[in-house]
Symmetry: C2
Subunit: 223 residues, 2 copies
DNA sequence: GCATGTGAATGGATTCACAGCT
DNA sequence: AGCTGTGAATCCATTCACATGC
């Protein structure tokens, strides 16, 4: 009847997926020190998590552990990679080749283990044709649609000013990008067929400021 | 009796302060277009928020609105600035002058309206003595304690590798910095007299990947 | 015995719906 | 009439505690 938005059937909450990412990182570490088995309690103690929550999170995906023993590190790691959809490469396009865009392009973790940055876009003629330190080419903004289609871009990153962000969002959406990571400090008008996650760096600073203000009287300090 | 950690008395939750930051930004915009009064409903409609939540959030701080009318834009804006503690300047030190550190130093919003970046620190001799584009000096890592004390640094930003992050955290804490914004993808061992907020860029990408995987069968498209 | 997986209990946060003020 | 401020109701997430299985 009505046009259904793209909805995940039995999907798990975003808070949970965030923790899955954390678990994945912990497991990668454990694998690197050649530990083969780990219990939820050990994970919790080592990485300051809650063991019940770990078990509940993992239980969403069937019985991954062995009672009396724990979880097999590499098997669980592989399972989480698959669950998060990073067992294959996803192509990423960064719009905005300013400081932030370039920093993200070279950020370890944005160009590895499932993600590949195909290019950055900008309007500044000075920048076009150059590359980021990691080698991602900087192309002209007009190429957006072409690049998205020819390079099978699945994720777009908005690293432009607040003013330009809505336009970039709309262009990415029209070009067929379904997932966007937005760094511009605005409330974007969203479309229900595109998933947008916003990271607002300023809000984090303000939150710390609030904390400081609230503990201004209390002692806080050096020993 | 026991040594009390620094606890905020009647403080409001972090989710709430995040929204206060958003409201503040909306009000700044409304002020710029010279609107003097706004109701919770209008705010909600304009910026895709929930009017009941706006009212509840604001009600924590007394009766800021006028029944039958709404809120006075600039009065509310001033109040939120005070509440968030950005009605005065807070000095910020960035540790790590790599791409991310430099991007943050030049990020509009990190060096304005209540925040001032006093310096970046690094270990690379190549970088020492230079400045970021915005003019923040890059100093040598050993100067951390000196700079924190002489420049009254209140907020530290960790923009170094995962491996180095714990050390940086500890050094900042010992130097007397009470609030830290961490960009390194690690679970830090925390101290209870220091507030740490972590921003994990990779987790956001993985969350989008999860979304993509879960809507892979469903249509997701262009127009 | 030991650790998982899970219903039940708790604790927060969001939303509803309306009383109370202008 | 209109909009705030707020108890009550709802929803969601976390934690507890134990039955289940290795």
């Amino acid at each position: 009847m009505t046009q259904r938005p793209v909805i995940d059937n039995d999907a798990v909450s975003e808070l949970t997926t965030g923790r899955l990412s954390v678990y994945l990182r912990c497991l990668t570490y454990l694998e690197s020190i050649e530990q083969t088995t780990v219990s939820s309690q050990e994970l919790a103690k080592r990485f300051h998590l809650n063991s019940a929550q770990i078990r509940k999170d993992l239980a969403h995906f069937g019985e991954l552990g062995t009672r009396g023993v724990g979880y097999n590190v590499s098997r669980l790691k592989a399972h989480l990679s698959r669950t998060l959809g990073i067992d294959r490469q996803r192509n990423v396009l960064i719009v905005g080749a300013g400081n932030l865009g370039l920093a993200l392009a070279d950020y370890r973790g944005f160009n590895t283990n499932g993600f590949h940055i195909v290019a950055l876009l900008d309007v500044d003629p000075e920048k076009i044709g150059k590359t980021s330190r990691s080698g991602a080419p900087i192309a002209v903004w007009d190429e957006l649609q072409t690049i998205v289609r020819s390079q099978a871009v699945e994720i777009g990153i908005i690293a432009v000013s607040a003013e330009a962000a809505q336009n970039v969002h709309d262009a990415l959406a029209s070009a067929g990008v379904c997932a966007i990571l937005n760094f511009a400090p605005v409330q974007l008008r969203l479309r229900d067929d595109v998933k947008v996650k916003s990271v607002d760096l300023r809000i984090n600073l303000e939150s710390l400021s609030y904390y400081l203000k609230n503990s201004e009287d209390a002692a806080c300090g050096t020993d």
